[in-house]
Symmetry: D2
Subunit: 308 residues, 4 copies
């Protein structure tokens, strides 16, 4: 079923596991895919920045799409950001043919003006086709592209196939409020808003009107709890769960080294065999691993899933 | 007494309070200055980025130096970063004449190569004079200048007047370890390392060898506790105090809007009369203020100083 | 007389000459000021980026305003770009009190979105007052801020005191055409457009509808010829003069080292006593000086003013 | 024969021609390939930035390598810059298998420190293999990565397979002198230096010690003349030819729109069938085309090859 604006819950940003020879570890791909569903994820996003997509060859990328789509009953979003539209189109259309639910497109880092941003998404939609549901990735910290709420509204209104925002502006709470206000006053179509940034503001993002999270924090299950508790109006309990994980969320959210932390924890949880990354890769020193272990032990006082 | 490499504890990054007509609120300057000492700060840094230094006229800046130096028994560091060396020299020398302990210099954002960074600090030292102790501000997130540990070592070794690093690289834990390793093996003079970034990693920074914090988080007293507990080897207690404050620290550390949060909390604590900023300024919506109030109420469960 | 939208011709971007002790060389300031008028300039812009404005102390800046305004009968524009609005306001108002015709404001390099740019100029106008005519400096190569024609139109229409664009986008010819089209269709007030970028596209900029140049190329007299010839419809002659100077224009337009070239030529022309710059400064090697000398000898084959 | 440090003359940066349906125009590829040799080029570089490489699918890229290598007797350099090392390795090795002489690698735009740059090239060499001769592309204006001469020396000395620098720093003349000085004093292996930047400083680059040009200016034949005249010590004649083309060289060197100018001229010269670019693409207005025509007519007064 194609992705639409009612998507909510937690879409796990999937890590791409590698074997010691740096080939894709297909067994771990299966294990992770199963885990995300068991952990309460409502969808999976593959081939994102944290999925090391730019480090893969095309056939490897397509192989991962095929495997995850074939294995999971959840809707699968495929990151198709690429330096050129030819490659973007091909991956988008082949992924949809394989059964993906939609694609995600990040803007290239040289865009500056509102016109350039709107124009880029218009060209991207023209390239992939108007029939493929897509997600805007709004991540200025890494991509250096700043989109105002009004620009996002323009893109949404110009393209019916735009159904979701992966929101990871920083700071970003007011942006969620602004977009929901647009919808409330009828100036913007409804879209799903799922939040990234490693979950660092998930506690309040739900309260501002986000539909959930799309991020790869190693405790997908905890993210699912937080979103569920907030949806149920259980504010204090949601914050309690969030605060218990925040020291580790914050540690994992470090630029450059964050993926190493995430893979280390996923490995400790038994979900992937190796925490290797393809180059260029951040790495954890022994001291850093000890810090993560210590943080896990502290999380474990509140959340037994961190007992590992 | 001039600043030297033994400095430790918490240097508060002082906020600059304004009255409703946007003039400097000298009464609040006094109150804040007194508070920092009472809160356990071991020094005060004025005219930093979060002190809205670039928004002040020269005479206002010098007035604040005169007032704070006159009022406090703590060593005062003055931010003297400026677009040109003439202005930097003047503020540095006049501040020292007024009794400041040292100055802080951030690199201009157009520096890229190692040579450019080293060259800039050499020119800055030539400009202000070799007799003024100075602090390197290493803040790539805002300044976009990336200094390797080796470059910092080069600056330290080239200039005896370099006595401290305001460390706010992100991620930055390994940088502290690298610099302390340089000292341990004898390849770098000893310096003081005080950490910024709003305190977001203060829990581990102390464990990595930092001498404390230099940041403006509205609970200077809590920062002082954390540094003191870590210095006493009381790891769990330090982390407990840190974790209690982390949700608010994280909220205050938002780029652009963070200072509004900080001033709002300082006002609620009765330390400044108004939370106005000079333009350009981030502002808090009613919803954001409610979120800060909620965070304060949650911190208050662990730290009575947050009961306000 | 205050600056208005009818300004045209060549506004010389004034170099700030220094003596060997790095103090402002007031005699050379007078000589340069006189030269610009004799060379056919219709205005002078002081305290711009190439006037080393950020390297001056406030009193020095004001001293230069006083001296040039007092000496010249031409309208004087003062660059008042500053990290904060307090300093901008003060320099703007004191300059106007001294007799300046208007001020120029460049956007700070952290602006990204259309809203941020519009908002910045609104705040600047609020700061300096609506009664001071101002010039937008649009120089993305150095300032990293990209303004679309539509954003410039918004600023012009929002602020009656906006009377001129210093156009130095690159590429920029279509921007001139777009702005003139706005005026033609009545969607934008009339403004003066003077072009910078060292004059590198002045040949065609006039044909696109620019009113002239605002730049500091060391042959102000040649620039004035080109603008005059184009205004007279003498296309080929204008291009002949331009092409004769282009090799040197291009050499002087090198980022970082360009001002050293310009001052070297001005010194050779007898207009300033020393080509020293305040730090940080690009410098010319012996080889580079020989190259400039060679270029001058080649220009001299077509333009006797280059015989030096 | 594999590329080595003795390479000199003019390596043409090949344009990639497209048909009206945006597929690669293989007939024009042949025509261009033949033209470059006839025009006096000593080598051809394909799949560079101006060859729209990021807009091609992998098979298309490889198809172009196969075609050009099969057609030309000149050494062919293949641009293999890629977001990840897997794709870089594959294109590099398959290109060499097809008969390419070497590859060119540009640094990714997020590199800042000297260490990061050295480390990136070390990883790239590890990825493609030490047996493939490679060219460093040093193009800060577009890539935002700044390499000092010392860093280039480090890369050259660390990797025997580094045989050439595509020099397009701006300003860059002193960099050539610095590198040749390193060679002269024996601190750096000999490398070939070919200059890009559209040829905007080719007149002096040869005099500084460059071995020639690697750029795509539409008059390859004129570039070859300039390099040949300089090599023969015929300085004035070289500058005469350069100056005749400089107005057009300058016009073609505009960021973003330059490729449209280049393709327009190549089409007028009968070398490609269509001047279409794949999106995103700069385009020429009627006014811009008229300007290019006018420039061509002016160049034609000195160089009959511009009579078209």
């Amino acid at each position: 079923m194609p992705l639409n604006h009612t998507a909510n819950g937690v879409y796990a940003i999937a890590t791409t596991p590698f074997l010691d020879d740096f080939s894709v570890d297909t067994k771990s791909v299966d294990r992770l895919t199963d885990f995300y569903a068991e952990a309460g994820a409502t969808g999976i996003t593959i081939l994102g920045i944290m999925g090391e997509a730019p480090k893969l060859e095309y056939e490897e990328s397509l192989g991962i799409v095929r495997q995850v789509v074939g294995r999971s009953k959840l809707p699968i979003i495929v990151g198709v950001s690429a330096p050129g539209f030819a490659a973007m189109r091909r991956l988008a259309r082949e992924s949809m043919d394989l059964g993906a639910a939609g694609v995600m497109i990040a803007p290239p880092s040289n865009l500056r003006t509102d016109d350039q941003i709107r124009g880029y998404y218009a060209s991207a939609v023209e390239a992939i086709g108007e029939d493929i549901p897509f997600v805007i990735q709004d991540y200025p910290l890494t991509l250096t592209v700043v989109m105002t709420p009004a620009v996002i509204r323009d893109i949404v209104n110009a393209h019916l196939s735009c159904v979701m925002l992966k929101h990871e502006d920083w700071p970003g709470l007011e942006k969620i409020s602004a977009l929901r206000k647009f919808q409330g006053e009828g100036s913007m179509r409804e879209i799903s808003i799922l939040c990234g940034n490693g979950g660092l503001f998930l506690d309040f993002e739900c309260e501002r009107g986000a539909d959930g999270a799309m991020t790869g924090y190693a405790f997908t299950d905890a993210l699912a709890d937080i979103v569920r508790l907030q949806a149920a109006g259980n504010r204090d309990a949601a914050h309690d769960m969030f605060d218990a994980h925040l020291p580790l969320i914050r540690y994992e959210q470090q630029q450059g080294v964050g993926l190493a932390v995430r893979k280390y924890v996923l490995k400790k949880r038994g979900l992937i065999t190796s925490d290797l990354q393809r180059k260029p890769a951040g790495a954890l020193t022994a001291k850093a691993r000890e810090e993560v272990d210590y943080l896990l032990s502290r999380v474990a006082r509140h959340d037994p899933r961190a007992v590992i």
